[in-house]
Protein backbone atom coordinates (compact mmCIF):
# COMPACT_ATOMS: atom_id res chain seq x y z
CA UNK A 1 0.00 0.00 0.00
CA UNK A 2 1.46 3.33 -1.07
CA UNK A 3 1.34 6.20 1.38
CA UNK A 4 1.54 8.90 -1.30
CA UNK A 5 -1.00 11.58 -0.46
CA UNK A 6 -3.67 12.20 -3.09
CA UNK A 7 -4.21 15.53 -4.85
CA UNK A 8 -7.22 17.48 -3.70
CA UNK A 9 -10.59 16.24 -4.98
CA UNK A 10 -13.13 18.61 -6.54
CA UNK A 11 -15.99 17.28 -4.41
CA UNK A 12 -15.53 16.92 -0.65
CA UNK A 13 -13.89 13.66 0.38
CA UNK A 14 -13.79 12.30 3.94
CA UNK A 15 -11.41 9.76 5.50
CA UNK A 16 -8.45 10.57 3.23
CA UNK A 17 -4.91 9.86 4.42
CA UNK A 18 -4.30 13.61 4.61
CA UNK A 19 -7.37 14.24 6.76
CA UNK A 20 -6.53 11.30 9.07
CA UNK A 21 -2.85 12.15 9.49
CA UNK A 22 -3.62 15.87 9.58
CA UNK A 23 -5.85 15.32 12.61
CA UNK A 24 -2.86 13.93 14.56
CA UNK A 25 -0.73 16.90 13.44
CA UNK A 26 -3.20 19.13 15.31
CA UNK A 27 -2.53 17.23 18.55
CA UNK A 28 1.22 17.84 18.49
CA UNK A 29 2.81 19.41 21.53
CA UNK A 30 -0.16 18.23 23.56
CA UNK A 31 -1.17 15.71 26.22
CA UNK A 32 -3.82 13.01 25.67
CA UNK A 33 -5.27 11.74 28.95
CA UNK A 34 -6.98 8.47 29.90
CA UNK A 35 -10.38 9.10 31.52
CA UNK A 36 -13.05 6.71 32.79
CA UNK A 37 -15.95 9.13 33.53
CA UNK A 38 -17.42 12.34 32.05
CA UNK A 39 -16.25 14.16 35.23
CA UNK A 40 -12.66 13.07 34.66
CA UNK A 41 -12.97 14.10 31.00
CA UNK A 42 -13.95 17.61 32.10
CA UNK A 43 -11.03 17.80 34.54
CA UNK A 44 -8.71 16.77 31.69
CA UNK A 45 -10.19 19.37 29.33
CA UNK A 46 -9.95 22.11 31.96
CA UNK A 47 -6.32 21.17 32.58
CA UNK A 48 -5.53 21.73 28.89
CA UNK A 49 -5.57 18.18 27.45
CA UNK A 50 -5.68 18.15 23.62
CA UNK A 51 -7.80 14.97 23.64
CA UNK A 52 -9.05 12.28 26.01
CA UNK A 53 -8.95 8.50 25.76
CA UNK A 54 -12.28 7.10 26.95
CA UNK A 55 -11.98 3.73 28.66
CA UNK A 56 -13.65 1.72 31.41
CA UNK A 57 -10.55 1.05 33.47
CA UNK A 58 -7.15 2.70 33.36
CA UNK A 59 -4.27 0.29 32.60
CA UNK A 60 -3.20 0.14 36.27
CA UNK A 61 -6.62 -1.27 37.15
CA UNK A 62 -6.67 -3.63 34.16
CA UNK A 63 -3.40 -5.02 35.53
CA UNK A 64 -4.81 -5.38 39.02
CA UNK A 65 -8.14 -6.92 37.98
CA UNK A 66 -6.80 -9.34 35.36
CA UNK A 67 -9.17 -11.20 33.04
CA UNK A 68 -10.04 -10.22 29.47
CA UNK A 69 -10.01 -6.47 28.80
CA UNK A 70 -12.38 -5.35 26.02
CA UNK A 71 -13.77 -2.26 24.30
CA UNK A 72 -15.66 0.05 26.67
CA UNK A 73 -19.45 0.31 26.99
CA UNK A 74 -20.88 2.61 24.23
CA UNK A 75 -22.95 4.44 26.85
CA UNK A 76 -19.82 5.33 28.75
CA UNK A 77 -18.02 6.49 25.59
CA UNK A 78 -21.00 8.62 24.48
CA UNK A 79 -21.23 10.16 27.95
CA UNK A 80 -17.65 11.35 27.56
CA UNK A 81 -18.20 12.55 23.98
CA UNK A 82 -21.12 14.67 25.26
CA UNK A 83 -19.13 16.06 28.20
CA UNK A 84 -16.23 17.69 26.32
CA UNK A 85 -15.50 19.60 23.11
CA UNK A 86 -11.95 18.26 22.62
CA UNK A 87 -11.42 15.09 20.51
CA UNK A 88 -12.32 11.75 22.10
CA UNK A 89 -10.37 8.55 21.39
CA UNK A 90 -11.29 5.00 22.37
CA UNK A 91 -9.56 1.61 22.35
CA UNK A 92 -10.31 -1.53 20.36
CA UNK A 93 -8.58 -4.87 20.89
CA UNK A 94 -5.80 -5.75 18.44
CA UNK A 95 -7.38 -7.36 15.37
CA UNK A 96 -10.95 -6.85 16.65
CA UNK A 97 -12.20 -4.92 13.64
CA UNK A 98 -15.82 -5.20 14.79
CA UNK A 99 -15.03 -3.29 17.99
CA UNK A 100 -13.41 -0.73 15.69
CA UNK A 101 -16.55 -0.61 13.53
CA UNK A 102 -18.62 0.03 16.65
CA UNK A 103 -16.28 2.83 17.78
CA UNK A 104 -16.48 4.42 14.33
CA UNK A 105 -20.28 4.30 14.44
CA UNK A 106 -20.22 6.04 17.85
CA UNK A 107 -18.32 8.94 16.26
CA UNK A 108 -15.07 8.75 18.23
CA UNK A 109 -12.34 10.91 16.67
CA UNK A 110 -9.51 8.35 16.86
CA UNK A 111 -9.34 4.61 17.49
CA UNK A 112 -6.41 3.18 19.47
CA UNK A 113 -5.83 -0.45 18.42
CA UNK A 114 -4.31 -1.15 21.79
CA UNK A 115 -2.16 -3.81 23.42
CA UNK A 116 -3.56 -2.67 26.79
CA UNK A 117 -6.71 -4.62 25.89
CA UNK A 118 -6.53 -8.39 25.39
CA UNK A 119 -5.65 -9.14 21.71
CA UNK A 120 -8.49 -10.72 19.69
CA UNK A 121 -6.28 -12.02 16.87
CA UNK A 122 -2.82 -13.53 17.36
CA UNK A 123 -1.76 -13.02 13.73
CA UNK A 124 -3.55 -10.03 12.20
CA UNK A 125 -4.06 -6.40 13.13
CA UNK A 126 -7.18 -4.65 11.76
CA UNK A 127 -7.15 -3.30 8.19
CA UNK A 128 -7.20 0.37 9.12
CA UNK A 129 -7.52 1.67 5.52
CA UNK A 130 -11.09 0.31 5.59
CA UNK A 131 -12.15 2.97 8.13
CA UNK A 132 -13.06 6.66 7.95
CA UNK A 133 -11.99 7.11 11.58
CA UNK A 134 -8.19 7.33 11.90
CA UNK A 135 -6.17 4.88 14.02
CA UNK A 136 -3.26 5.24 16.41
CA UNK A 137 -1.16 2.12 17.10
CA UNK A 138 1.65 1.26 19.49
CA UNK A 139 5.16 0.25 18.42
CA UNK A 140 8.32 -0.90 20.18
CA UNK A 141 10.60 -0.46 17.15
CA UNK A 142 10.68 0.97 13.62
CA UNK A 143 9.61 -2.21 11.81
CA UNK A 144 6.54 -2.51 13.99
CA UNK A 145 5.68 1.18 13.44
CA UNK A 146 6.01 0.84 9.66
CA UNK A 147 3.92 -2.34 9.55
CA UNK A 148 1.14 -0.48 11.37
CA UNK A 149 1.44 2.47 8.96
CA UNK A 150 1.28 -0.04 6.09
CA UNK A 151 -2.00 -1.29 7.56
CA UNK A 152 -3.31 2.30 7.61
CA UNK A 153 -2.37 3.70 11.04
CA UNK A 154 -2.38 7.54 10.88
CA UNK A 155 -0.45 8.05 14.13
CA UNK A 156 2.12 6.00 16.06
CA UNK A 157 2.87 5.92 19.79
CA UNK A 158 5.48 4.04 21.77
CA UNK A 159 3.98 1.14 23.68
CA UNK A 160 5.85 1.72 26.88
CA UNK A 161 4.59 -0.50 29.67
CA UNK A 162 1.14 0.92 30.41
CA UNK A 163 -0.15 1.02 33.97
CA UNK A 164 3.25 0.75 35.64
CA UNK A 165 4.05 4.43 36.22
CA UNK A 166 7.52 3.47 35.00
CA UNK A 167 8.80 5.32 31.95
CA UNK A 168 11.73 3.00 31.20
CA UNK A 169 10.01 1.01 28.44
CA UNK A 170 8.69 4.10 26.63
CA UNK A 171 12.23 5.51 26.67
CA UNK A 172 13.54 2.27 25.20
CA UNK A 173 10.92 2.21 22.41
CA UNK A 174 11.38 5.84 21.45
CA UNK A 175 15.17 5.58 21.37
CA UNK A 176 14.91 2.39 19.35
CA UNK A 177 12.62 4.01 16.74
CA UNK A 178 14.79 7.15 16.53
CA UNK A 179 18.04 5.17 16.20
CA UNK A 180 16.63 2.96 13.48
CA UNK A 181 15.43 6.01 11.53
CA UNK A 182 18.89 7.61 11.85
CA UNK A 183 20.45 4.40 10.55
CA UNK A 184 18.13 4.39 7.49
CA UNK A 185 19.23 7.93 6.69
CA UNK A 186 22.70 6.64 5.94
CA UNK A 187 21.56 3.95 3.49
CA UNK A 188 21.72 4.24 -0.28
CA UNK A 189 18.93 2.95 -2.54
CA UNK A 190 20.48 -0.51 -2.89
CA UNK A 191 20.52 -0.98 0.85
CA UNK A 192 16.93 0.12 1.41
CA UNK A 193 15.51 -3.09 -0.14
CA UNK A 194 17.43 -5.22 2.33
CA UNK A 195 16.48 -2.84 5.13
CA UNK A 196 12.79 -3.26 4.26
CA UNK A 197 13.20 -7.01 4.37
CA UNK A 198 15.00 -6.84 7.70
CA UNK A 199 12.39 -4.48 9.14
CA UNK A 200 9.60 -6.65 7.69
CA UNK A 201 7.99 -3.43 6.47
CA UNK A 202 6.69 -2.18 3.09
CA UNK A 203 9.59 -0.92 0.91
CA UNK A 204 7.75 2.26 -0.17
CA UNK A 205 7.32 3.40 3.44
CA UNK A 206 10.92 2.50 4.34
CA UNK A 207 12.07 4.64 1.42
CA UNK A 208 9.82 7.50 2.53
CA UNK A 209 11.19 7.38 6.10
CA UNK A 210 14.78 7.36 4.81
CA UNK A 211 14.06 10.49 2.75
CA UNK A 212 12.07 12.33 5.46
CA UNK A 213 14.28 11.39 8.41
CA UNK A 214 11.10 10.85 10.42
CA UNK A 215 7.94 8.75 10.33
CA UNK A 216 5.39 9.90 7.73
CA UNK A 217 2.88 10.19 10.61
CA UNK A 218 2.97 11.84 14.04
CA UNK A 219 4.91 10.00 16.79
CA UNK A 220 3.74 10.27 20.41
CA UNK A 221 5.01 8.62 23.56
CA UNK A 222 2.81 6.38 25.69
CA UNK A 223 3.22 4.12 28.69
CA UNK A 224 4.49 4.94 32.15
CA UNK A 225 4.49 8.76 32.19
CA UNK A 226 3.67 9.83 35.77
CA UNK A 227 5.36 13.23 36.31
CA UNK A 228 5.92 16.53 34.44
CA UNK A 229 9.60 15.62 34.10
CA UNK A 230 8.65 12.26 32.53
CA UNK A 231 6.56 14.07 29.90
CA UNK A 232 9.36 16.55 29.16
CA UNK A 233 11.86 13.67 28.92
CA UNK A 234 9.77 11.99 26.24
CA UNK A 235 9.51 15.27 24.33
CA UNK A 236 13.26 15.85 24.52
CA UNK A 237 13.78 12.31 23.21
CA UNK A 238 11.73 13.23 20.14
CA UNK A 239 8.10 12.41 20.96
CA UNK A 240 5.79 15.01 19.39
CA UNK A 241 3.32 14.70 22.26
CA UNK A 242 2.44 12.49 25.20
CA UNK A 243 -0.27 10.05 26.23
CA UNK A 244 -0.78 9.82 29.98
CA UNK A 245 -2.78 6.86 31.21
CA UNK A 246 -2.98 5.88 34.84
CA UNK A 247 -0.46 8.57 35.86
CA UNK A 248 -3.05 11.32 36.34
CA UNK A 249 -6.17 9.81 37.83
CA UNK A 250 -4.23 7.32 39.99
CA UNK A 251 -2.38 10.22 41.64
CA UNK A 252 -3.26 12.26 44.74
CA UNK A 253 -4.40 15.49 42.99
CA UNK A 254 -5.41 14.70 39.38
CA UNK A 255 -6.44 18.25 38.32
CA UNK A 256 -3.18 19.75 39.52
CA UNK A 257 -0.99 16.98 38.11
CA UNK A 258 -2.81 17.11 34.75
CA UNK A 259 -2.22 20.87 34.40
CA UNK A 260 1.41 20.46 35.46
CA UNK A 261 2.06 17.76 32.84
CA UNK A 262 0.48 20.00 30.15
CA UNK A 263 2.82 22.86 31.10
CA UNK A 264 5.92 20.66 31.11
CA UNK A 265 4.97 19.19 27.73
CA UNK A 266 4.81 22.65 26.11
CA UNK A 267 7.98 23.96 27.81
CA UNK A 268 9.76 20.60 27.70
CA UNK A 269 13.12 22.29 27.08
CA UNK A 270 12.87 24.78 29.98
CA UNK A 271 13.96 23.22 33.32
CA UNK A 272 12.67 26.25 35.25
CA UNK A 273 9.12 25.74 33.99
CA UNK A 274 9.38 21.99 34.64
CA UNK A 275 10.65 22.64 38.19
CA UNK A 276 7.78 25.06 38.83
CA UNK A 277 5.28 22.55 37.43
CA UNK A 278 6.72 19.77 39.63
CA UNK A 279 6.14 21.54 42.98
CA UNK A 280 3.60 20.23 45.50
CA UNK A 281 1.76 17.84 43.24
CA UNK A 282 0.94 15.41 46.06
CA UNK A 283 1.33 11.68 45.75
CA UNK A 284 2.36 10.27 42.34
CA UNK A 285 0.97 6.88 41.34
CA UNK A 286 2.86 4.13 43.14
CA UNK A 287 4.35 2.40 40.12
CA UNK A 288 5.71 -1.03 39.32
CA UNK A 289 9.30 -2.02 38.67
CA UNK A 290 9.29 -3.45 35.12
CA UNK A 291 12.04 -5.97 35.97
CA UNK A 292 9.67 -7.77 38.31
CA UNK A 293 6.86 -8.05 35.73
CA UNK A 294 6.33 -11.63 34.53
CA UNK A 295 6.57 -12.01 30.73
CA UNK A 296 2.86 -12.82 30.46
CA UNK A 297 1.98 -9.49 32.08
CA UNK A 298 4.05 -7.38 29.68
CA UNK A 299 1.64 -5.56 27.37
CA UNK A 300 4.43 -4.40 25.05
CA UNK A 301 4.87 -8.01 23.87
CA UNK A 302 1.32 -8.00 22.50
CA UNK A 303 1.12 -7.16 18.78
CA UNK A 304 3.92 -7.88 16.35
Amino acid sequence: MSTTLPTVPQSPETGTARVKRGMAEQLKGGVIMDVVTPEQAKIAEDAGAVAVMALERVPADIRKDGGVARMSDPDMIEGIIDAVSIPVMAKSRIGHFVEAQVLQSLGVDYIDESEVLTPADEVNHSDKWAFTTPFVCGATNLGEALRRIGEGAAMIRSKGEAGTGNVVEAVRHLRQIKNEIARLRGFDNNELYAAAKELRAPYEIVKEVAALGKLPVVLFSAGGVATPADAALMRQLGAEGVFVGSGIFKSGDPAKRAAAIVKATTFYDDPKVIAEASRNLGEAMVGINCDTLPEAERYANRGW
Binding site: T16, R18, G48, S85, T133
Partner: protein, 196 residues
Protein backbone atom coordinates in the same frame (compact mmCIF):
# COMPACT_ATOMS: atom_id res chain seq x y z
CA UNK B 1 16.54 43.01 5.11
CA UNK B 2 13.82 42.27 2.61
CA UNK B 3 13.07 38.86 4.11
CA UNK B 4 10.18 39.27 6.54
CA UNK B 5 10.59 37.62 9.95
CA UNK B 6 7.40 35.73 10.74
CA UNK B 7 6.73 33.85 13.96
CA UNK B 8 4.57 30.79 14.56
CA UNK B 9 2.86 30.63 17.95
CA UNK B 10 4.34 27.39 19.29
CA UNK B 11 2.28 26.62 22.40
CA UNK B 12 0.66 23.59 20.75
CA UNK B 13 -0.41 22.42 17.28
CA UNK B 14 1.00 21.92 13.78
CA UNK B 15 3.84 24.40 14.19
CA UNK B 16 6.44 22.62 12.05
CA UNK B 17 4.17 22.56 8.98
CA UNK B 18 3.70 26.33 9.18
CA UNK B 19 7.45 26.92 9.62
CA UNK B 20 8.10 24.87 6.47
CA UNK B 21 5.36 26.62 4.47
CA UNK B 22 6.54 30.10 5.54
CA UNK B 23 10.13 29.31 4.59
CA UNK B 24 8.93 28.08 1.19
CA UNK B 25 6.96 31.35 0.83
CA UNK B 26 10.15 33.40 1.31
CA UNK B 27 9.92 34.33 4.98
CA UNK B 28 12.33 33.76 7.86
CA UNK B 29 10.21 31.64 10.17
CA UNK B 30 10.69 31.25 13.95
CA UNK B 31 8.79 29.76 16.83
CA UNK B 32 7.24 32.08 19.43
CA UNK B 33 6.33 30.86 22.92
CA UNK B 34 7.24 33.85 25.10
CA UNK B 35 6.50 37.60 25.04
CA UNK B 36 10.19 38.41 24.39
CA UNK B 37 10.15 36.18 21.29
CA UNK B 38 7.06 38.01 20.06
CA UNK B 39 9.04 41.28 20.07
CA UNK B 40 11.38 39.91 17.43
CA UNK B 41 8.83 39.14 14.70
CA UNK B 42 7.04 41.30 12.12
CA UNK B 43 4.08 38.97 11.65
CA UNK B 44 2.64 35.91 13.39
CA UNK B 45 0.87 32.71 12.41
CA UNK B 46 -1.43 31.08 14.95
CA UNK B 47 -1.45 27.41 13.87
CA UNK B 48 -4.02 24.67 13.93
CA UNK B 49 -4.34 22.71 17.15
CA UNK B 50 -6.79 22.54 20.05
CA UNK B 51 -8.17 26.03 20.64
CA UNK B 52 -9.04 25.33 24.30
CA UNK B 53 -5.49 24.12 25.03
CA UNK B 54 -3.88 26.99 23.14
CA UNK B 55 -6.03 29.58 24.90
CA UNK B 56 -5.22 28.14 28.35
CA UNK B 57 -1.48 28.01 27.69
CA UNK B 58 -1.50 31.55 26.25
CA UNK B 59 -3.19 32.85 29.41
CA UNK B 60 -1.00 30.78 31.74
CA UNK B 61 2.29 31.95 30.25
CA UNK B 62 1.35 35.61 29.93
CA UNK B 63 1.00 35.64 26.16
CA UNK B 64 -2.61 36.82 25.79
CA UNK B 65 -2.11 40.50 26.59
CA UNK B 66 1.11 40.92 24.56
CA UNK B 67 -0.62 39.21 21.62
CA UNK B 68 -3.65 41.47 21.92
CA UNK B 69 -1.45 44.55 22.05
CA UNK B 70 0.54 43.61 18.95
CA UNK B 71 -2.59 42.69 16.97
CA UNK B 72 -4.26 45.95 18.03
CA UNK B 73 -1.15 47.84 16.93
CA UNK B 74 -1.51 46.32 13.46
CA UNK B 75 0.95 43.39 13.43
CA UNK B 76 -0.06 41.11 10.53
CA UNK B 77 -1.47 37.85 11.87
CA UNK B 78 -2.81 34.70 10.19
CA UNK B 79 -4.83 32.02 11.99
CA UNK B 80 -5.69 28.56 10.63
CA UNK B 81 -8.51 26.48 12.20
CA UNK B 82 -7.80 26.83 15.97
CA UNK B 83 -5.89 29.99 14.99
CA UNK B 84 -9.07 31.34 13.38
CA UNK B 85 -10.89 30.74 16.66
CA UNK B 86 -8.11 32.60 18.53
CA UNK B 87 -8.61 35.64 16.25
CA UNK B 88 -12.39 35.79 16.70
CA UNK B 89 -13.85 38.58 18.80
CA UNK B 90 -16.50 36.11 19.89
CA UNK B 91 -16.89 32.31 20.04
CA UNK B 92 -20.28 30.68 19.97
CA UNK B 93 -20.44 28.21 22.90
CA UNK B 94 -16.90 28.74 24.29
CA UNK B 95 -15.59 26.38 27.00
CA UNK B 96 -15.49 27.96 30.42
CA UNK B 97 -12.69 30.49 30.60
CA UNK B 98 -11.78 30.15 26.91
CA UNK B 99 -10.32 33.53 25.95
CA UNK B 100 -9.32 34.72 22.50
CA UNK B 101 -6.82 37.24 21.17
CA UNK B 102 -9.42 38.84 18.90
CA UNK B 103 -8.58 41.06 15.96
CA UNK B 104 -11.33 40.04 13.55
CA UNK B 105 -14.88 41.22 14.18
CA UNK B 106 -16.56 37.85 13.70
CA UNK B 107 -18.44 35.15 15.57
CA UNK B 108 -16.94 31.68 15.06
CA UNK B 109 -18.63 28.33 15.63
CA UNK B 110 -16.18 25.65 16.83
CA UNK B 111 -16.19 22.15 15.25
CA UNK B 112 -18.97 23.49 12.98
CA UNK B 113 -18.29 21.03 10.16
CA UNK B 114 -18.54 18.11 12.61
CA UNK B 115 -16.29 15.57 14.31
CA UNK B 116 -13.31 13.77 12.76
CA UNK B 117 -15.46 11.38 10.67
CA UNK B 118 -16.88 14.46 8.90
CA UNK B 119 -13.43 16.03 8.33
CA UNK B 120 -12.85 16.43 4.59
CA UNK B 121 -10.79 17.94 1.82
CA UNK B 122 -12.15 19.96 -1.06
CA UNK B 123 -11.15 22.66 -3.52
CA UNK B 124 -11.80 26.21 -2.27
CA UNK B 125 -11.72 29.44 -4.31
CA UNK B 126 -10.07 32.21 -2.25
CA UNK B 127 -10.57 35.82 -3.32
CA UNK B 128 -7.16 37.39 -3.99
CA UNK B 129 -5.31 34.07 -4.38
CA UNK B 130 -4.58 33.48 -8.06
CA UNK B 131 -4.02 30.26 -9.96
CA UNK B 132 -7.24 28.37 -9.26
CA UNK B 133 -8.77 26.95 -6.08
CA UNK B 134 -6.57 26.04 -3.11
CA UNK B 135 -6.52 22.61 -1.46
CA UNK B 136 -8.80 22.98 1.53
CA UNK B 137 -8.14 20.48 4.33
CA UNK B 138 -10.91 20.84 6.95
CA UNK B 139 -10.30 18.99 10.25
CA UNK B 140 -13.04 19.27 12.89
CA UNK B 141 -13.12 22.72 11.35
CA UNK B 142 -14.86 25.89 12.54
CA UNK B 143 -16.79 28.24 10.30
CA UNK B 144 -17.59 31.93 10.57
CA UNK B 145 -21.15 32.43 11.73
CA UNK B 146 -21.32 36.19 11.12
CA UNK B 147 -18.98 39.11 10.38
CA UNK B 148 -18.92 42.85 11.12
CA UNK B 149 -18.92 45.57 8.46
CA UNK B 150 -15.10 45.88 8.44
CA UNK B 151 -14.51 42.21 7.60
CA UNK B 152 -13.99 41.01 4.04
CA UNK B 153 -15.15 37.49 3.23
CA UNK B 154 -12.50 35.80 1.08
CA UNK B 155 -14.00 32.32 0.70
CA UNK B 156 -17.13 30.31 1.33
CA UNK B 157 -17.64 26.57 1.26
CA UNK B 158 -21.01 24.81 1.37
CA UNK B 159 -22.72 28.14 2.07
CA UNK B 160 -20.46 28.92 5.05
CA UNK B 161 -17.75 31.55 5.41
CA UNK B 162 -14.34 29.82 5.69
CA UNK B 163 -11.81 32.61 4.99
CA UNK B 164 -11.85 36.27 6.11
CA UNK B 165 -9.63 39.30 6.35
CA UNK B 166 -9.88 42.45 8.42
CA UNK B 167 -7.02 44.89 7.95
CA UNK B 168 -3.83 42.97 8.71
CA UNK B 169 -5.59 39.96 10.19
CA UNK B 170 -6.29 36.87 8.05
CA UNK B 171 -8.05 33.64 9.02
CA UNK B 172 -9.02 30.36 7.33
CA UNK B 173 -11.09 27.41 8.63
CA UNK B 174 -8.83 25.04 6.70
CA UNK B 175 -5.13 24.07 6.83
CA UNK B 176 -3.03 25.15 3.82
CA UNK B 177 0.03 24.16 5.89
CA UNK B 178 -0.90 20.48 5.49
CA UNK B 179 -0.70 20.73 1.69
CA UNK B 180 2.21 21.48 -0.60
CA UNK B 181 0.32 24.57 -1.85
CA UNK B 182 2.01 27.63 -0.34
CA UNK B 183 -0.04 30.34 -2.04
CA UNK B 184 -1.83 31.44 1.15
CA UNK B 185 1.47 31.62 3.01
CA UNK B 186 2.86 33.77 0.16
CA UNK B 187 -0.30 35.90 0.35
CA UNK B 188 0.33 36.40 4.09
CA UNK B 189 4.07 37.01 3.61
CA UNK B 190 3.12 39.76 1.13
CA UNK B 191 0.75 41.22 3.75
CA UNK B 192 3.69 41.36 6.19
CA UNK B 193 5.87 43.12 3.59
CA UNK B 194 3.11 45.65 2.81
CA UNK B 195 2.64 46.42 6.50
CA UNK B 196 6.22 47.74 6.85
Amino acid sequence: MNTPVIGVLALQGDVREHLTALAAAGAEARTVRRPAELDGVEGLVIPGGESTTMSKLAALFGMLEPLRERVRAGMPVYGTCAGMIMLAEKILDPRSGQETVGGIDMIVRRNAFGRQNESFEAAVEVDGVEGGPVEGVFIRAPWVESVGAEVRVLAEYGGHVVAVRQGNALATSFHPELTGDHRLHRFFTDMVRSAR
